[in-house]
Symmetry: C2
Subunit: 218 residues, 2 copies
């Protein structure tokens, strides 16, 4: 059973200082952390698992799962053989550094190289709330439509990489990659953009190559 952390309001003090503290702890252990942000149901857990599995021979991966309620995602990650901690935010709409601090204390840090922090499904509130991560990755799935960067600019503005997920169903949902990319470029002219399907594997290699290169740099 994955560990579940119930969050009390008193944990919410001084987010940025705690984020710095988390970052120092991660650096001390040589762990690179990714803050993964997306709408509900964009495929965050599926992509994290596919990435961790593809990199398993090169990098030891762990996952912090943030959800308003339940531990469905942490169970799924643990079942795949990776270290996982579930954070239940108890209604809060995004993770905060204090929640991640507690989750880090439950993880076997000396045994990890790469840590995915899956934020609460929400394209508004997690933007700009630092957790101590090295990289912010925003996923938006093709069924959500090609206008998401225009409607939720803050999340995209702060991203180190943007991933268009569920590429395998793009044709069924009328997703237009040209429109998406031009909307994204008005928000962020240079952010790396990947399109992929974690289900079929299409496009995964470019994302994995980029991620491994960043982990080696950091």
């Amino acid at each position: 059973m994955p560990k579940t952390i119930e969050v009390k309001q008193s944990v919410f003090a001084d987010n940025n200082a705690l984020a710095e503290k988390n970052r120092s702890l991660l650096d001390q252990h040589g762990i690179v952390a990714l803050n993964v942000m997306a709408s509900p149901g964009a495929g965050k857990t599926t992509l994290i698992l596919a990435t961790a599995e593809a990199l398993a021979l090169r990098l030891r991966c762990g996952v912090i799962e943030g959800d308003v309620a339940g531990d469905l995602d942490a169970r799924r990650v643990e079942a795949a053989g990776f270290s996982a901690v579930q954070i239940n935010t108890g209604g809060s709409c995004h993770l905060r550094a204090g929640m991640v601090e507690r989750a880090l204390s439950e993880l076997p840090l000396p045994e990890l190289d790469l840590l995915f922090i899956e934020n609460v499904g929400n394209l508004v509130c997690p933007a700009g709330v630092r957790l101590g991560e090295h990289l912010c990755v925003v996923i938006s799935s093709t069924p959500e439509g090609d206008d998401k960067p225009t409607k939720y600019p803050a999340a995209f503005r702060g991203a180190d990489a943007v991933i268009v997920s569920k590429w395998d169903v793009a044709q069924y949902v009328g997703f237009d990659m040209g429109r998406y990319e031009s909307a994204l470029r008005r928000i962020s002219s240079a952010v790396p953009l990947f399109r992929l399907s974690a289900k079929t594997g299409e496009g995964m290699q470019e994302w994995l190559d980029w991620l491994v290169a960043r982990v080696q740099e950091l």
Copy 2:
């Protein structure tokens, strides 16, 4: 061009009192208002437009569009021939009653029977924030997966109706209606549940019949 309202923080005082005031104003004009909540890209605007068009001979519909940024949705609604006001929340993750109060002052209330209030795309924060609406409708689209009621219980707990949208792509995204329904029933045992595709029209009639019956009751 649809009207766009830029929200200042000072509007945020005493939400419930303002919601009551909105409700009185709506009642005075015999307007039934729906608060429509969903994740980003669940198809809120598409369903609102399909509903307004299907009911056009029986009910005069207007729309308040809530977005963090942009007026894409209000332009789309106006282009279809309906009265629309865009609220830009300026970063805020949900509508509040004060924002709706200002939007109501921009709408031709004597000419409306049914008002859709499309909340910001967010399955967490709008829950429980009253706007003066008569009915709360939660949409969750098949590509988001069949676990949404478990992960975002507050939104579903307060719903007067739940709609599973994008039914036309259910088969491509592995959506299991049985799993969804049993997750929903653990949160709300009796809420009316509709599955439909606003694109193909499948399932629309049941939703329209329910909505018209509620409008006649109210």
